[in-house]
């Protein structure tokens, strides 16, 4: 399963649109890309997982790592979650209380 990662800009936000499945095979690429963005000064990230059909604990680990990194530079990370299975993973792990979660990209890049 391939993972698609596209980075665009919306106002002050860097928008990372991810599509596919985030698991042990694909998570390292996502981690690498996100860490690279943060290291290049992109400290306000929207991670749009609207086209992600599956994420497991390996993928969650990547997101937690990036959130920690962003916090150390006083940045901000917002997630867009749409797919019900993906939303459920955040709910049952309690991570819906840790991440700023938005239902749409427009909402995430808003004020």
């Amino acid at each position: 399963m391939d993972l698609r990662i596209d980075v665009t800009t919306s106002g002050e936000w860097s928008v990372v649109q991810v599509g596919g499945e985030v698991d042990v095979a694909t998570a390292p690429r996502l981690r690498e890309r996100l860490v690279d963005l943060v290291n290049h000064g992109r400290h306000r990230l929207v991670l749009d997982l609207g086209a992600v059909g599956f994420i497991d604990s390996t993928g969650l680990g990547v997101l937690i790592g990036v959130l920690k990194r962003i916090r150390t530079v006083d940045g901000s990370l917002r997630l867009v979650l749409v797919e019900p299975h993906v939303r459920k993973v955040f709910e049952i792990t309690g991570l819906d209380g840790v991440f700023a979660i938005h239902p749409t990209l427009d909402d995430a890049v808003g004020p």
Binding site: M1, E21, D23, V24, A25, F54, D56, S57, T58, L60, G61, I64, G65, L67, K68, P84, H85, K88, V89, E91, I92, T93, G94, L95, G97, V98
Partner: protein, 167 residues
């Protein structure tokens, strides 16, 4: 290459036998890419049984993905090329999935340390969510040591998992 097959066939655990259960079995090379294949197999089995709805199929997909990931990582950590064995027994409204590795076993006590939901310590669990997730998503689960590794046996009924991982 070590053979990871069990000495005895049949459901591996002290759980009630599934009468007339059909067995679907796959040997998966210990590579990260094959976890997606394991997910496809179990979702196909769940989708085929009207007792399981789409949400429950998602629960099963996640639990099996976690178990296969652990198994494959155990093999990769050891650097051996033995395949992981995935066995699924299905009978109406029940699916049992066993994931068997020969990765030398893992420290289950350390792995099941409950995740703390409170901030900011929640962020300390960058890893270690896999086994709590498996416990939450299954009706029944056993982690069984064998001579050379671990077998995780998960039984799923039709009811969707609810609740949260917590201490």
């Amino acid at each position: 290459m070590t053979d990871c097959r069990p000495l005895h066939e049949g459901p591996p655990v002290d759980q009630p036998a599934l009468d007339g259960a059909e067995l679907v079995e796959l040997e998966l090379p210990a590579r990260p890419e094959v976890v997606a294949i394991a997910r496809l197999v179990v979702v196909a089995l769940a989708d085929d049984d009207p007792a399981f709805d789409a949400e429950r199929a998602g629960d099963i997909r996640l639990a099996v993905s976690e178990a296969c990931t652990n198994a494959i990582e155990a093999h990769l950590a050891r650097g051996d090329g033995a395949p992981v064995l995935l066995r699924c027994w299905r009978s109406p409204a029940e699916l049992r999935v066993a994931v068997r590795d020969c990765g030398g076993g893992f420290d289950l006590d350390a792995a099941v340390r409950p995740a703390d939901l409170t901030e900011p310590s929640r962020l300390d669990y960058e890893g270690g969510l896999g086994i709590p997730l498996i416990r939450l998503l299954t009706d029944r689960v056993e982690f069984r040591r064998h001579d050379d590794g671990t077998e995780v046996v998960m039984t799923f009924g039709p009811a969707n998992a609810t609740g949260r991982i917590g201490p």
